[in-house]
């Protein structure tokens, strides 16, 4: 059973596709963003920042709304090295994902635009742990990954350099809930807060 918000988003996407098919002036956009990402879980991690890349292709449904799909690739990020009764350990995380959502925008008379993004993300999250009992023991590493369906939301502003090329700045948040819930008694939610700078091209 899909959650209500997922059903709503799928329905909106279907409606959007239907609207697009009846539009007479189909326009496309292509975005590529470089992102600074800060991960945060609900269980007390302390991840460092990392970088990532996002690409999206969007189909304008009307002057304000586009349906977009894309992919994100985020670099591996490490948590602080910690020590507890079992030994020293360090966790790292890497994530890739696919995006499907809507982009709403409002363009002013000046060459500026504000926009918001909302959608679903299907992500593969890999965790790796390296542990050593003490300084004299060789470290041991294990890893595990999980694929989950999450969601994202973002807000930003764009400046049109030419009528078809814009540069934009965007603040976003992507959430993957209940990671590893199917195989662990200790699932967690993962938030990725991002600051993105990118270029958008309209066709």
């Amino acid at each position: 059973m899909r959650p209500a918000w997922l059903q709503l988003l799928l329905a909106a996407s279907l409606c959007a596709c239907s609207a697009a098919s009846s539009a007479t002036d189909l326009r496309w956009r292509f975005d590529i963003d470089t992102r600074l990402i800060r991960y945060d879980t609900d269980r007390g991690d302390d991840f460092h920042s990392t970088q990532g890349l996002a690409v999206r292709a969007g189909l304008y449904l009307n002057h304000y709304l586009s349906l977009e799909a894309g992919a994100v690739l985020n670099n591996r990020v490490i948590d602080d090295t910690r020590k507890d009764i079992a030994g020293y350990y360090q966790v790292s995380l890497e994530q890739q994902g696919l995006l499907l959502g809507l982009r709403a925008s409002h363009r002013f008379t000046s060459p500026y635009e504000v926009f918001a993004r909302l959608g679903l993300s299907h992500a593969r999250t890999e965790l790796a742990v390296t542990e050593a009992s003490d300084d004299s023991t060789p470290p041991v590493s294990v890893s595990a990954s999980d694929r989950t369906l999450g969601y994202y939301i973002a807000f930003g502003g764009a400046h049109f350099i030419t009528p078809t090329i814009e540069a934009h700045l965007e603040l976003g948040r992507e959430t993957q809930p209940d990671l590893f819930s199917d195989r662990s008694r200790y699932p967690f939610d993962l938030d990725a807060l991002s600051l993105a700078f990118g270029i958008g091209i309209l066709f």
Partner: protein
């Protein structure tokens, strides 16, 4: 303040444990328990404060006098009746492990070194059962010790808020004497203010037999900053632990380095609140897997008294 609040009592319990494991003599040693320097030894210190439902427990193992780290999933498990707990926090004062357990004063505490790779790691943020690491049990697994709490201490004197005006006087500690072979111990936490500055510190004193009476000279508790021995009396380790109490006393408004920065007000010339913690201490047992050991369980109670020197003109 006539009674110590719950948080403060817990902090006192930690301090009691720490001071129990340190020498009250002026010393430059490492504060580790005095056990046989050769072979494998265990130290367990546990205290149950009056009216508390939990006992604080610290435990450590030493090989030839050097602390042994439990790693990989080995850890101390403490059992009391149907309750069990694990010692995972660092106990700096004995360079071992600390924790607490729900217990009744009549229950025996069993302390065993076990191996459980998940429990040892379950406080980590990531899913430790999905990223499972288990190097297997270490050589100490299976060794045990046990302790039982002595009867609760019933302090009959002094009364709370009793005021003393001269260090030439004494505090007549009176309690209902025990029937066993336990010994008594006194921990005092002192908080002084001369109106402009404050000083806070703690001391410990072995009271010997559990005979129901012990006069304690105030000069053993109220110190004189001008006495050069004073700064040596509280070791750096005890200072760190006392900082916890002082934070509680000041509701978090204390300078984090207050104790380290030494005393400012001279207690001899200041009004001081003195928390007296009286402990009844009983020795416990350890199994043949250890060559030596020091197992102590104590019950404690407390009372607050005042030192108020005559005005100086």
């Amino acid at each position: 303040m006539s009674e110590i609040n719950l948080t403060l009592k817990k902090t006192l319990a930690v301090i009691i444990l720490s001071l129990l494991s340190t020498s009250c003599e002026i010393s430059t040693d490492d504060n580790l328990p005095a056990t046989d320097a050769r072979g494998l030894s265990i130290s367990v210190i546990t205290n149950r404060h009056e009216d508390e439902t939990t006992a604080e427990v610290s435990a450590a193992v030493y090989q030839d006098g050097i602390p042994v780290e439990l790693t990989g999933g080995d850890l101390f498990k403490v059992t009391s009746g149907a309750e069990s707990s694990y010692l995972k926090m660092p106990a700096a004062q004995i360079r071992g492990y600390a924790g607490s357990i729900e217990t009744d004063s009549r229950e025996t505490l069993d302390i065993e070194i076990i191996h459980d790779a998940i429990i040892a790691r379950e406080d980590r943020w990531y899913p430790v059962d999905a990223l499972f690491i288990d190097p297997g049990p270490g050589p100490l697994v299976g060794r045990r010790a046990s302790a039982s709490f002595p009867d609760p201490v019933r302090l009959t004197a002094p009364q709370a808020s009793t005021e003393y005006n001269s260090i030439d006087g004494q505090i007549d500690l009176q309690w209902i004497a025990g029937s066993g072979n336990e010994s008594m111990n006194l921990v005092a936490a002192v908080d002084c203010s001369d109106g402009l500055s404050t000083s806070r510190y703690g001391i410990q004193r072995d009271l010997g037999d559990d005979d129901g009476f012990e006069p304690v000279p105030l000069s053993d508790i109220i110190v004189d900053n001008n006495n050069p021995l004073f700064n040596s009396y509280i070791g750096p380790l005890a200072q760190v632990l006392l900082q916890q109490l002082l934070n509680e006393l000041s509701e978090g408004n204390i300078d984090p380095d207050f104790v380290v920065r030494k005393i400012e007000a001279n207690p001899l010339e200041s009004r001081c609140e003195i928390w007296l913690v009286l402990q009844r201490v009983r020795k416990g047992d350890f199994d043949d897997g250890f060559d030596d050991g020091d197992i102590t369980a104590s019950s404690s109670t407390d009372v607050q008294v005042i030192y108020s020197p005559p005005a100086l003109f």
